[in-house]
Amino acid sequence: MSIQVEQPISPDRVVRDRRKRKKKVNEISNLSNLLINIFFWIYTGLCVIPLLLVVIVSFSDETDVLIKGYSFFPKSLDVASYAFLL
Protein backbone atom coordinates (compact mmCIF):
# COMPACT_ATOMS: atom_id res chain seq x y z
CA MET A 1 0.00 0.00 0.00
CA SER A 2 2.81 2.40 0.72
CA ILE A 3 6.43 3.16 0.07
CA GLN A 4 8.88 1.85 2.61
CA VAL A 5 11.07 4.76 3.54
CA GLU A 6 14.59 3.82 4.54
CA GLN A 7 15.35 5.08 8.01
CA PRO A 8 18.88 5.47 9.35
CA ILE A 9 19.07 3.02 12.20
CA SER A 10 20.42 4.33 15.45
CA PRO A 11 19.92 2.67 18.86
CA ASP A 12 17.68 5.35 20.34
CA ARG A 13 15.50 5.35 17.20
CA VAL A 14 14.73 1.64 17.61
CA VAL A 15 13.64 2.16 21.19
CA ARG A 16 11.37 5.00 20.20
CA ASP A 17 9.89 2.98 17.36
CA ARG A 18 8.95 0.18 19.67
CA ARG A 19 6.82 2.55 21.72
CA LYS A 20 5.27 4.38 18.81
CA ARG A 21 5.31 2.71 15.43
CA LYS A 22 6.61 4.94 12.67
CA LYS A 23 3.83 5.99 10.35
CA LYS A 24 4.23 4.79 6.79
CA VAL A 25 4.09 7.43 4.09
CA ASN A 26 0.65 6.72 2.70
CA GLU A 27 -1.04 5.73 5.94
CA ILE A 28 -3.80 7.80 7.47
CA SER A 29 -3.13 10.00 10.45
CA ASN A 30 -3.43 8.72 14.00
CA LEU A 31 -6.60 10.69 14.54
CA SER A 32 -8.42 9.32 11.50
CA ASN A 33 -7.26 5.82 12.35
CA LEU A 34 -8.64 6.26 15.84
CA LEU A 35 -11.94 7.60 14.54
CA ILE A 36 -12.33 4.72 12.09
CA ASN A 37 -11.50 2.26 14.84
CA ILE A 38 -14.03 3.76 17.21
CA PHE A 39 -16.65 3.76 14.48
CA PHE A 40 -16.11 0.11 13.66
CA TRP A 41 -16.07 -0.91 17.31
CA ILE A 42 -19.50 0.70 17.65
CA TYR A 43 -20.76 -0.97 14.51
CA THR A 44 -19.40 -4.35 15.57
CA GLY A 45 -21.22 -3.82 18.85
CA LEU A 46 -24.44 -3.12 16.99
CA CYS A 47 -24.02 -6.37 15.07
CA VAL A 48 -23.21 -8.59 18.04
CA ILE A 49 -25.19 -7.09 20.93
CA PRO A 50 -28.66 -7.98 19.59
CA LEU A 51 -27.59 -11.61 19.40
CA LEU A 52 -26.17 -11.34 22.89
CA LEU A 53 -29.51 -10.04 24.11
CA VAL A 54 -31.27 -13.10 22.78
CA VAL A 55 -28.72 -15.43 24.37
CA ILE A 56 -29.06 -13.66 27.72
CA VAL A 57 -32.85 -13.73 27.52
CA SER A 58 -32.75 -17.44 26.74
CA PHE A 59 -31.02 -17.94 30.09
CA SER A 60 -33.22 -15.64 32.12
CA ASP A 61 -36.25 -16.52 34.18
CA GLU A 62 -39.53 -16.44 32.24
CA THR A 63 -41.58 -14.55 34.83
CA ASP A 64 -38.73 -12.10 35.07
CA VAL A 65 -38.97 -11.47 31.33
CA LEU A 66 -42.73 -11.06 31.57
CA ILE A 67 -42.44 -8.43 34.28
CA LYS A 68 -39.24 -6.59 33.43
CA GLY A 69 -39.13 -7.22 29.72
CA TYR A 70 -36.11 -8.30 27.71
CA SER A 71 -33.04 -7.13 29.52
CA PHE A 72 -29.27 -7.44 29.34
CA PHE A 73 -29.02 -7.89 33.10
CA PRO A 74 -31.47 -10.56 34.23
CA LYS A 75 -32.10 -10.91 37.94
CA SER A 76 -31.68 -14.65 37.99
CA LEU A 77 -30.28 -17.17 35.58
CA ASP A 78 -32.37 -20.12 34.57
CA VAL A 79 -31.94 -23.01 32.17
CA ALA A 80 -35.61 -24.00 32.20
CA SER A 81 -36.07 -23.12 28.53
CA TYR A 82 -33.22 -25.44 27.56
CA ALA A 83 -34.55 -28.15 29.88
CA PHE A 84 -37.88 -27.79 28.08
CA LEU A 85 -36.19 -28.29 24.72
CA LEU A 86 -34.31 -31.37 25.84
Partner: protein
Protein backbone atom coordinates in the same frame (compact mmCIF):
# COMPACT_ATOMS: atom_id res chain seq x y z
CA UNK B 1 -17.87 -30.04 -23.34
CA UNK B 2 -20.56 -27.43 -22.90
CA UNK B 3 -23.27 -30.07 -23.07
CA UNK B 4 -23.68 -30.84 -19.32
CA UNK B 5 -23.96 -27.16 -18.46
CA UNK B 6 -26.46 -26.58 -21.27
CA UNK B 7 -28.55 -29.57 -20.22
CA UNK B 8 -28.67 -28.34 -16.63
CA UNK B 9 -29.57 -24.82 -17.80
CA UNK B 10 -32.38 -26.14 -20.00
CA UNK B 11 -33.77 -28.48 -17.35
CA UNK B 12 -33.56 -25.99 -14.50
CA UNK B 13 -34.34 -22.70 -16.24
CA UNK B 14 -36.01 -23.19 -19.60
CA UNK B 15 -38.35 -26.17 -19.17
CA UNK B 16 -39.99 -24.66 -16.02
CA UNK B 17 -40.63 -21.55 -18.10
CA UNK B 18 -43.44 -23.48 -19.78
CA UNK B 19 -45.22 -23.04 -16.46
CA UNK B 20 -45.86 -19.40 -17.32
CA UNK B 21 -48.96 -20.60 -19.19
CA UNK B 22 -50.50 -21.00 -15.73
CA UNK B 23 -50.57 -17.21 -15.53
CA UNK B 24 -52.98 -17.08 -18.46
CA UNK B 25 -55.29 -19.88 -17.30
CA UNK B 26 -58.08 -20.32 -14.85
CA UNK B 27 -56.53 -23.34 -13.23
CA UNK B 28 -58.99 -26.06 -12.43
CA UNK B 29 -57.45 -28.96 -10.59
CA UNK B 30 -59.92 -31.46 -12.02
CA UNK B 31 -59.17 -30.55 -15.62
CA UNK B 32 -55.43 -30.30 -15.10
CA UNK B 33 -53.21 -27.41 -16.03
CA UNK B 34 -53.09 -27.97 -19.78
CA UNK B 35 -56.83 -28.51 -20.15
CA UNK B 36 -57.87 -25.54 -17.98
CA UNK B 37 -59.63 -22.63 -19.67
CA UNK B 38 -57.64 -19.75 -21.03
CA UNK B 39 -58.61 -16.45 -19.42
CA UNK B 40 -56.30 -14.06 -21.20
CA UNK B 41 -55.02 -11.31 -18.93
CA UNK B 42 -57.67 -11.69 -16.21
CA UNK B 43 -55.10 -12.99 -13.70
CA UNK B 44 -53.05 -9.83 -14.03
CA UNK B 45 -55.94 -7.54 -13.17
CA UNK B 46 -55.74 -8.06 -9.41
CA UNK B 47 -52.12 -6.95 -9.48
CA UNK B 48 -52.95 -3.53 -10.85
CA UNK B 49 -56.65 -2.92 -10.37
CA UNK B 50 -57.07 -2.40 -6.61
CA UNK B 51 -56.02 0.44 -4.31
CA UNK B 52 -53.70 -1.83 -2.40
CA UNK B 53 -52.06 -2.69 -5.69
CA UNK B 54 -50.74 0.81 -6.34
CA UNK B 55 -49.73 1.07 -2.70
CA UNK B 56 -47.72 -2.13 -2.67
CA UNK B 57 -46.05 -1.40 -6.00
CA UNK B 58 -45.08 2.01 -4.67
CA UNK B 59 -43.75 0.39 -1.47
CA UNK B 60 -41.75 -2.21 -3.38
CA UNK B 61 -40.11 0.32 -5.67
CA UNK B 62 -39.42 2.85 -2.92
CA UNK B 63 -37.90 0.31 -0.53
CA UNK B 64 -35.78 -1.29 -3.21
CA UNK B 65 -34.51 2.07 -4.46
CA UNK B 66 -33.59 3.02 -0.91
CA UNK B 67 -31.88 -0.33 -0.37
CA UNK B 68 -29.87 -0.08 -3.58
CA UNK B 69 -28.68 3.48 -2.97
CA UNK B 70 -27.92 3.10 0.74
CA UNK B 71 -26.19 -0.27 0.40
CA UNK B 72 -24.04 1.12 -2.37
CA UNK B 73 -22.97 4.27 -0.53
CA UNK B 74 -22.50 2.70 2.89
CA UNK B 75 -20.70 -0.44 1.80
CA UNK B 76 -18.31 1.42 -0.48
CA UNK B 77 -17.57 3.81 2.39
CA UNK B 78 -17.05 0.88 4.77
CA UNK B 79 -14.80 -0.90 2.29
CA UNK B 80 -12.64 2.21 1.87
CA UNK B 81 -12.46 2.64 5.64
CA UNK B 82 -11.50 -1.00 6.18
CA UNK B 83 -8.83 -0.62 3.57
CA UNK B 84 -7.35 2.38 5.37
CA UNK B 85 -7.31 0.78 8.80
CA UNK B 86 -3.75 0.37 9.97
CA UNK B 87 -4.30 -2.78 11.95
CA UNK B 88 -5.06 -5.55 9.45
CA UNK B 89 -6.01 -8.05 12.14
CA UNK B 90 -8.50 -5.69 13.71
CA UNK B 91 -9.92 -4.92 10.27
CA UNK B 92 -10.47 -8.67 9.68
CA UNK B 93 -12.14 -8.97 13.07
CA UNK B 94 -14.58 -6.14 12.35
CA UNK B 95 -15.36 -7.58 8.93
CA UNK B 96 -16.22 -10.92 10.47
CA UNK B 97 -18.44 -9.28 13.07
CA UNK B 98 -20.21 -7.32 10.34
CA UNK B 99 -20.69 -10.49 8.33
CA UNK B 100 -22.39 -12.26 11.23
CA UNK B 101 -25.94 -10.93 10.66
CA UNK B 102 -25.78 -12.05 7.03
CA UNK B 103 -25.80 -15.67 8.15
CA UNK B 104 -28.92 -15.32 10.26
CA UNK B 105 -32.19 -16.31 8.66
CA UNK B 106 -34.96 -13.74 8.49
CA UNK B 107 -36.96 -15.71 11.04
CA UNK B 108 -34.18 -15.33 13.58
CA UNK B 109 -33.79 -11.65 12.69
CA UNK B 110 -37.53 -11.27 13.13
CA UNK B 111 -37.26 -12.49 16.72
CA UNK B 112 -34.28 -10.25 17.36
CA UNK B 113 -36.35 -7.28 16.21
CA UNK B 114 -39.27 -8.51 18.29
CA UNK B 115 -37.02 -8.71 21.34
CA UNK B 116 -36.30 -5.03 20.89
CA UNK B 117 -39.67 -3.74 19.73
CA UNK B 118 -42.24 -5.90 21.49
CA UNK B 119 -44.78 -3.57 23.09
CA UNK B 120 -44.94 -5.22 26.52
CA UNK B 121 -41.54 -6.85 26.95
CA UNK B 122 -39.34 -5.25 24.31
CA UNK B 123 -35.96 -3.85 25.21
CA UNK B 124 -36.73 -0.48 23.64
CA UNK B 125 -40.07 -0.01 25.40
CA UNK B 126 -38.97 -1.41 28.77
CA UNK B 127 -35.44 -0.11 29.10
CA UNK B 128 -34.42 2.38 26.45
CA UNK B 129 -37.42 4.72 26.26
CA UNK B 130 -38.01 4.97 30.06
CA UNK B 131 -34.32 5.79 30.40
CA UNK B 132 -34.86 8.86 28.26
CA UNK B 133 -38.16 9.55 30.00
CA UNK B 134 -40.29 8.74 26.96
CA UNK B 135 -43.59 6.93 26.68
CA UNK B 136 -43.60 3.38 25.28
CA UNK B 137 -44.51 3.14 21.61
CA UNK B 138 -46.69 0.46 20.09
CA UNK B 139 -44.28 -0.45 17.34
CA UNK B 140 -46.32 -3.23 15.82
CA UNK B 141 -49.43 -1.14 15.31
CA UNK B 142 -48.00 2.13 14.10
CA UNK B 143 -47.07 2.05 10.44
CA UNK B 144 -45.12 5.30 10.33
CA UNK B 145 -41.97 3.92 12.01
CA UNK B 146 -41.57 0.95 9.75
CA UNK B 147 -39.87 2.45 6.70
CA UNK B 148 -36.97 3.40 8.96
CA UNK B 149 -36.96 0.13 10.89
CA UNK B 150 -37.10 -2.03 7.79
CA UNK B 151 -34.34 -0.11 6.04
CA UNK B 152 -32.13 -0.32 9.14
CA UNK B 153 -32.74 -4.03 9.57
CA UNK B 154 -32.09 -4.78 5.92
CA UNK B 155 -28.88 -2.74 5.90
CA UNK B 156 -27.77 -4.29 9.18
CA UNK B 157 -28.17 -7.74 7.68
CA UNK B 158 -26.76 -7.21 4.20
CA UNK B 159 -24.07 -4.57 4.52
CA UNK B 160 -21.35 -6.97 5.64
CA UNK B 161 -21.73 -9.04 2.50
CA UNK B 162 -21.60 -6.18 0.01
CA UNK B 163 -18.74 -4.56 1.92
CA UNK B 164 -16.65 -7.69 1.47
CA UNK B 165 -17.33 -7.65 -2.27
CA UNK B 166 -16.17 -4.04 -2.58
CA UNK B 167 -13.21 -4.79 -0.31
CA UNK B 168 -12.13 -7.47 -2.76
CA UNK B 169 -12.43 -4.92 -5.57
CA UNK B 170 -10.26 -2.44 -3.69
CA UNK B 171 -7.62 -5.03 -2.80
CA UNK B 172 -7.27 -5.76 -6.52
CA UNK B 173 -6.10 -2.20 -7.23
CA UNK B 174 -2.42 -1.91 -8.07
CA UNK B 175 -0.41 -0.09 -5.38
CA UNK B 176 1.53 1.79 -7.99
CA UNK B 177 -1.41 4.07 -8.69
CA UNK B 178 -1.34 5.28 -5.10
CA UNK B 179 2.42 5.63 -5.09
CA UNK B 180 2.27 7.74 -8.24
CA UNK B 181 -0.50 9.85 -6.73
CA UNK B 182 1.52 10.28 -3.56
CA UNK B 183 4.50 11.56 -5.50
CA UNK B 184 2.18 14.04 -7.20
CA UNK B 185 1.09 15.19 -3.77
CA UNK B 186 -2.43 13.80 -3.74
CA UNK B 187 -4.19 13.76 -0.39
CA UNK B 188 -5.91 10.66 0.93
CA UNK B 189 -9.30 12.05 -0.01
CA UNK B 190 -8.15 12.79 -3.56
CA UNK B 191 -6.69 9.29 -3.85
CA UNK B 192 -10.02 7.77 -2.82
CA UNK B 193 -12.01 9.94 -5.20
CA UNK B 194 -9.73 9.75 -8.21
CA UNK B 195 -8.25 6.26 -7.91
CA UNK B 196 -10.26 3.96 -5.65
CA UNK B 197 -13.78 4.85 -6.76
CA UNK B 198 -13.09 4.91 -10.53
CA UNK B 199 -11.22 1.61 -10.33
CA UNK B 200 -13.97 -0.22 -8.47
CA UNK B 201 -16.63 1.35 -10.69
CA UNK B 202 -17.03 -1.89 -12.72
CA UNK B 203 -17.83 -3.82 -9.54
CA UNK B 204 -20.25 -1.10 -8.44
CA UNK B 205 -21.97 -1.14 -11.83
CA UNK B 206 -22.35 -4.92 -11.95
CA UNK B 207 -23.72 -5.08 -8.40
CA UNK B 208 -26.15 -2.24 -9.04
CA UNK B 209 -27.34 -3.69 -12.35
CA UNK B 210 -28.04 -7.04 -10.71
CA UNK B 211 -29.99 -5.33 -7.95
CA UNK B 212 -31.94 -3.23 -10.44
CA UNK B 213 -33.00 -6.45 -12.13
CA UNK B 214 -34.66 -7.47 -8.89
CA UNK B 215 -36.22 -4.11 -8.08
CA UNK B 216 -39.72 -5.51 -8.51
CA UNK B 217 -38.98 -8.44 -6.20
CA UNK B 218 -39.20 -7.59 -2.54
CA UNK B 219 -37.38 -9.51 0.13
CA UNK B 220 -40.19 -11.72 1.39
CA UNK B 221 -38.48 -12.63 4.65
CA UNK B 222 -37.91 -9.00 5.54
CA UNK B 223 -41.41 -7.80 4.84
CA UNK B 224 -43.28 -10.85 6.09
CA UNK B 225 -41.26 -12.15 9.03
CA UNK B 226 -39.78 -8.97 10.46
CA UNK B 227 -43.12 -7.15 10.44
CA UNK B 228 -44.77 -10.31 11.83
CA UNK B 229 -47.35 -9.83 9.06
CA UNK B 230 -49.13 -7.28 11.25
CA UNK B 231 -52.19 -5.95 9.42
CA UNK B 232 -51.90 -2.49 10.97
CA UNK B 233 -48.58 -1.99 9.21
CA UNK B 234 -49.70 -2.86 5.69
CA UNK B 235 -49.77 0.74 4.50
CA UNK B 236 -45.98 0.96 4.73
CA UNK B 237 -44.91 -2.67 4.74
CA UNK B 238 -46.99 -4.42 2.13
CA UNK B 239 -44.97 -5.27 -0.95
CA UNK B 240 -45.70 -7.31 -4.06
CA UNK B 241 -44.43 -10.59 -2.64
CA UNK B 242 -46.36 -10.40 0.61
CA UNK B 243 -49.48 -9.23 -1.23
CA UNK B 244 -49.25 -12.21 -3.58
CA UNK B 245 -48.79 -14.54 -0.63
CA UNK B 246 -51.74 -13.08 1.24
CA UNK B 247 -54.06 -13.25 -1.74
CA UNK B 248 -52.89 -16.77 -2.48
CA UNK B 249 -53.73 -17.80 1.08
CA UNK B 250 -57.12 -16.10 0.85
CA UNK B 251 -58.18 -17.17 -2.64
CA UNK B 252 -55.87 -20.09 -3.40
CA UNK B 253 -55.60 -19.31 -7.10
CA UNK B 254 -52.17 -20.27 -8.41
CA UNK B 255 -52.96 -18.48 -11.68
CA UNK B 256 -52.83 -15.12 -9.93
CA UNK B 257 -49.60 -15.94 -8.11
CA UNK B 258 -47.82 -16.99 -11.25
CA UNK B 259 -49.15 -13.90 -13.01
CA UNK B 260 -47.50 -11.79 -10.33
CA UNK B 261 -44.26 -13.77 -10.66
CA UNK B 262 -44.32 -13.32 -14.42
CA UNK B 263 -44.82 -9.56 -14.12
CA UNK B 264 -41.91 -9.32 -11.68
CA UNK B 265 -39.62 -11.26 -14.00
CA UNK B 266 -40.59 -9.27 -17.09
CA UNK B 267 -40.23 -5.90 -15.38
CA UNK B 268 -36.90 -7.00 -13.91
CA UNK B 269 -35.71 -8.16 -17.32
CA UNK B 270 -36.73 -4.90 -19.00
CA UNK B 271 -35.15 -2.79 -16.27
CA UNK B 272 -31.85 -4.65 -16.33
CA UNK B 273 -31.86 -4.35 -20.10
CA UNK B 274 -32.51 -0.61 -20.03
CA UNK B 275 -29.99 0.01 -17.27
CA UNK B 276 -27.39 -1.94 -19.19
CA UNK B 277 -28.17 0.07 -22.30
CA UNK B 278 -27.67 3.24 -20.29
CA UNK B 279 -24.35 2.02 -18.92
CA UNK B 280 -23.24 1.07 -22.41
CA UNK B 281 -24.04 4.59 -23.59
CA UNK B 282 -21.92 6.14 -20.87
CA UNK B 283 -18.96 3.79 -20.86
CA UNK B 284 -18.92 0.83 -23.17
CA UNK B 285 -16.49 -1.45 -21.37
CA UNK B 286 -18.40 -1.37 -18.09
CA UNK B 287 -21.63 -2.77 -19.54
CA UNK B 288 -22.72 -6.21 -18.39
CA UNK B 289 -23.57 -7.54 -21.88
Amino acid sequence: MMLPAIIILVINNYIPMLGTIIAFKDVNYQKGILASDWVGLDNFKYLFATDTATRMIRNTLAYNTAFILLTLVISVAFAVMFNEMRNRLLSKFHQSAMFLPYFLSWVVVSYLVYGFLSTDHGFVNKTLLPFFGMQPIEWYSDAKYWPVILILVKLWKEIGYTTVIYMAGILGIDHEYYEAALIDGATKWQQIRKITIPLIAPVIIVMTLLQIGRIFNADFGLFFQVTRNAGALYSTTQVIDTYVYQTFLAIGDIGMSSAAGLVQSIVGFLLIFLANLLVRRISKEDALF
